[in-house]
């Protein structure tokens, strides 16, 4: 499963073992003509004109409406369920309880421990205890009200640290500790002995909701041949299929999952389509009719996964000169009621594992000791949300670095410059970074654009009344491309038609992040056609190769490589045909902008489509299939040492804020965010990712929190759950740097999740710099900032 050899050589060895890893960057002798261009998103027009149909726009004719009866208690035994009255209501097609689930009564992205319909007990407020399908939504709702459930209440547990105590109520039979893992690098004790300054802090982050614009919806449509077709917005159609086939008790090829246009996901639509998909499919299975389940906003908040809350305890030590010598951390990661994506996915997947690997930050520290606990509670369950495990620890490491700098009498800038990862650095897992490490470039260029030196000197009161103070802060970050598990392969089909146009089929989904623009760009570049010649097929498990989930900032890089490999197979046959037609040696041919020509004699030329048509006529290959998996990840389960991810994206953010010293209100007034992305395939789309990510990180810092009282969420609607509005987000200046990734298409690496990670601590650090108080328990809303100022009681100029 894992090896203890984790050095520089391993990546090179892996490269040799996998010849397809080589040469993915330079595919042509010429500079790219499509890649690197800010072409307009392929879905822009249909989205701005409102023509794109989302799930809620689909015809409901012939559909039954599915509804879920939810548990009103966080922890209880189900004594009895009486469904008679509901069944007899006119217009009701089915009322189902646990015994009606035809196959496995459990679903989940990794461990299927969440009942499709709870039979014995409920574990959180919102757990499903019965399903109803009816002719109208209104009747379905009336039927729900007619179901009588008797519960015996069990004592609940709502805190991960409490949950670990011996006498804590057990959420699951096996106990509340879902996973425990550790990381040991060097000798932390010896490291602290060398330290001149040691500080200890605890940071806490709450449950967060994705607040994607489109509420979840799923349609299950039984097919004539017995196949169950499931349609809906989904980030991971293959995981949906894998769950539904088990729940229905049928083989994999009897389930078809098809993604429809998705109004945002941010990781949340990895889990929720499994939930809705299984339940809609079970109802459709029983009624033999199409069933749709559409959630209202409040139901989305209540029922679906959240970003894991964490309590993070850190002790950090440095020498007088500012060099870090030791780091010790404990993570209490709250999984909530069900396992979802939380537990260890060997070797290096899982929320607490990701958090553990990244907890000491993008810094070189010789001695690191981390313990990570993942615990069940009776709260809603944790899942992936833009950075899965990483946003939480960024809040911790970036704040403690600033607090340490202050204790050392150095600056936030200098401590990062001294300790930040460089090429050749070893990470906390002992991974030696041998390529594409642009962290310091981001720090320097961000500082220059932000005018850090001047701004850092120029803090203090900004108004005559002396009520507002300005401050600046840095957030540095890093993030993996890929998911660190052994199932990380992407497959693509490239089909060139006789007129030179192309159908690109992949299992990577579009949720707003731009993959349906960037992937065709890579395909067009490799084939030598225009981007408008490439159409992306909708992800459909019947029609596209297994590509894994659209998560982990993996699409551009991993799928990009698979597309290049697929395109090359077709290109080879087309160029061979062109060589015959032009009577030019194959090695001299170049395919570019719909034309194939002799590099030495550019007037010898034919249209790409002519060669494609000839291939078709002669039965030469026009379909290519490419598969690509990154170098195998490794992580020793005992020491937490290894190479968990094959490449990282790096970033530095700088924020300026004004803090109202009397009310605690914070206004972010200036913002620069710099990234080393390897290669920007579409710079404009990339800037969009950056701006959206910063806004999300700002929400985490200042306003967002799923407020839960004894298991009951108090802010179910977007009226009370506060994501930033356009008035809260400052003008963001993005900086894109390209330090080539030798494993990426054209040198690219992932960017999807990265932008929100450093944003949160950059703002928190700026607040502390402005007002002297520090909020270590998010969000830093006006009240928390106010009390932090009171508590700090530091004399200000």
């Amino acid at each position: 499963m894992s090896t203890k050899t984790h050095d520089h050589k391993q990546i090179k060895t892996l490269t040799k073992d996998k010849p397809d890893l080589q040469g993915l960057i330079k595919t042509s002798q010429m500079s790219p003509s499509v890649v690197g261009k800010s072409i307009v998103r392929t879905d822009a027009l249909s989205k701005v004109t409102g023509k794109l149909a989302f799930g809620a726009d689909y015809s409901q004719e012939g559909f039954l409406h599915g509804k879920i009866l939810r548990s009103p208690y966080p922890h209880a035994v189900i004594k009895s369920i009486d469904i008679e009255k509901a069944k007899n209501l006119s217009g009701v097609a089915a009322v189902l309880t646990a015994e009606d689930v035809p196959g496995r009564n459990g679903f989940g992205a990794i461990i299927p421990d969440q009942p499709v319909i709870c039979g014995d007990k409920v574990r959180f407020v919102g757990d499903g205890v019965a399903l109803v399908a009816a002719e109208t939504e209104k009747i379905a709702n009336q039927a729900l009200e007619l179901i009588k459930v008797e519960y015996d209440l069990l004592p609940p547990v709502f805190d991960p640290i409490e949950a670990l105590k011996e006498d804590a109520p057990k959420v699951h039979e096996k106990g509340n500790l879902l996973s425990y893992n550790k990381l040991r690098k060097g000798d932390a004790e010896k490291g602290f002995a060398q330290a001149d300054v040691i500080i200890e802090r605890t940071y806490k982050v709450p449950f967060l909701d994705h607040a994607y614009l489109e509420p979840d919806i799923c349609m299950a449509i039984p097919q004539v041949d017995g196949t169950m077709l499931v349609e809906g917005p989904m980030q991971a159609p293959f995981t949906v299929r894998r769950n539904i086939n088990a729940v229905l008790g049928v083989p994999i090829n009897r389930v078809q999952a098809r993604q429809i246009s998705m109004g945002g996901g941010f990781g949340g639509k990895e889990d929720s389509p499994i939930d809705l998909g299984c339940r809609a499919a079970v109802l459709a299975h029983h009624t033999r009719r199409p069933v749709r389940i559409a959630l209202e906003r409040e139901e989305v908040t209540l029922q679906t996964c959240k970003r894991h809350p964490m309590t993070m305890k850190i002790k950090i030590g440095a020498k007088k000169d500012g060099s870090l010598v030791a780091f010790e951390g404990v993570i209490y990661d709250e999984q909530g009621a069900y396992a979802s994506l939380g537990p260890v996915i060997p070797p290096a997947g899982g929320s607490h594992i990701h958090a553990m690997i990244m907890m000491s930050g993008p810094y070189e520290i010789p001695n690191v000791k981390i313990d990570a606990y993942l615990c069940f509670t009776n709260n809603p369950y944790g899942g992936a949300m833009r950075g899965f495990g990483a946003p939480q620890v960024h809040v911790a490491h970036e704040q403690i670095i600033d607090e340490l700098a202050e204790a050392l009498g150095t600056t936030p800038f200098d401590i990062r410059r001294r300790n930040g990862l460089r090429e050749g650095s070893a990470t906390a897992t002992g991974q030696v970074l041998d390529q594409s490490v642009g962290l310091h470039d981001t720090l320097e260029s961000c500082a220059k654009a932000f005018d850090w030196e001047k701004k850092y000197q120029d803090t203090g009161y900004v108004n005559e009344e002396k009520t507002k103070r300005r401050g600046v802060g840095i957030g540095m970050g890093w993030y993996r491309t890929s998911i660190g598990t052994n199932n990380d392969a992407c497959g693509a089909n490239v089909y060139v038609h006789e007129d030179g146009t192309v159908l690109l089929s992949t299992g990577i989904t579009e949720m707003g992040q731009g993959s349906f623009t960037v992937l065709p760009q890579i395909c067009a570049e490799e084939l030598g056609v225009r981007v408008e010649d490439v159409r992306v097929a909708r992800p459909d498990t019947d029609a596209v190769p297994e590509s894994g989930p659209t998560v982990g900032s993996r699409s551009t890089t991993l799928m990009g490589n698979a597309i290049i490999l697929a395109a090359r197979q077709v290109k080879k046959s087309i160029l061979e045909m062109a060589a015959e037609m032009l009577m030019v040696p194959l090695t001299r041919l170049e395919s570019r902008d719909r034309r194939i020509y002799d590099r030495d004699n550019p007037d010898t030329v034919l249209e790409f489509r002519e060669a494609a048509a000839r291939c078709m006529a002669n039965g030469k290959r026009l379909i290519g299939q490419g598969w690509w998996a990154p170098p195998a990840p490794s992580l020793d389960p005992e020491t937490g040492q290894g190479n968990p991810y094959f490449v990282y994206t790096y970033s530095t953010h700088m924020a300026e804020v004004n803090v109202d010293m009397e009310t605690g209100e914070v206004e972010v007034t200036d913002y620069v965010a710099a990234f080393d992305v390897g290669k920007a395939i579409n710079p404009k789309a990339l800037e969009g990712q950056i701006e959206g990510g910063v806004a999300m990180g700002l929400g985490y810092a200042l306003t967002e929190e799923v407020a839960i009282e004894n298991g009951y969420i108090q802010n179910l609607s977007l009226r009370d759950y506060l994501i930033p509005t356009s008035l809260d987000v400052p003008d963001i200046k993005p900086i894109i740097l390209e330090v080539e990734n030798k494993f990426g298409p054209y040198g690219a690496k992932g960017i999807g999740e990265m932008p929100n990670l450093p944003a949160t601590p950059a703002i928190l650090n700026a607040i502390a710099n402005a007002c002297g108080g520090r909020v270590r328990d998010l969000p830093a809303d006006p009240e928390k900032v106010y009390w932090a100022i009171k508590e700090a009681e530091i004399p200000l100029d």
Partner: protein, 307 residues
Amino acid sequence: MSYAFKDFHWANDIRVNEYLLPKTTAEALEMLAEYKGQAQVVSGGTDVIPKLRKRELEVEALVDISRLPGMSDIKQKGDKIILGGLVTHARTVASLLIREKAGVLAEGAARVGSPQIRNMGTVAGNLASGHPAADTSMPLLALNASVTIASTEGERVVDLPQFFQGGNQTAADSRREIITQISFSALGKNQGCCYLRLSKRRALTIAILVLATVVDVDPDEKTIRDAAIAIGPVAPMPFRARDAEEILKGAPVSKEIVERAGDAAYKESTPESSVVWGSDEYKKEMVKVFVRRGLYKALKRAGCPVA
């Protein structure tokens, strides 16, 4: 806290049987009377529709008064400003008359919800919600406004303090009555006002605190003739800080008197803690800060700044 079925199950349908469109106010009042309390007045719908969806409100019919004639104007009669019952927030913000002679109301209306909500929602509807933190209620309370309420029985005029009855209840029964107009005295020379709002984000959210102040000064004597301070949500309904106002009346304009008013308002306000909107302690501290700031600004605008 106890929870009901509807707290865990939502529907996208709104359960009303009839949607009625009267042509005149009289017809609207007839319709309401006919339903005997089982119909609800709706205009912009920005409060009523969400309440229906959440089943906090259950009625048989909606009586849409948004197209009734003659209630959408803002007029001045003598020193009185009259706001028709259908005047929207957007129209209030855009009105020069309101901006010049009741600036505090324009400032409050400008902070309601979002542009869409301001275009649909009405000031009278905002009042009728009875919400203790409604953005236009505090300015109108500080302006000593009164509302005219019509029913089939006739018309009556209610002053704002009596209009609010706590627990989101008001003197206007929106199942039987219609607010036809709101009136208040135009602010003139030697008067100043100020609206302040504290919230977790900068738009589209319920306020943690809303404050409106109106002061009347004697610029020669540098004294405060009269002061009105309205705050929410620090009581079950929009609240006038009478103790603070008493301290100010007749007092010389000074830093000390403003501080004392802030302290008095702190003492007389009784906000409640909420997991989402913050602790009572914090809100009380903010009352002190806001009363101070609101008075400084209003006094400055009245031409009598604190030295």
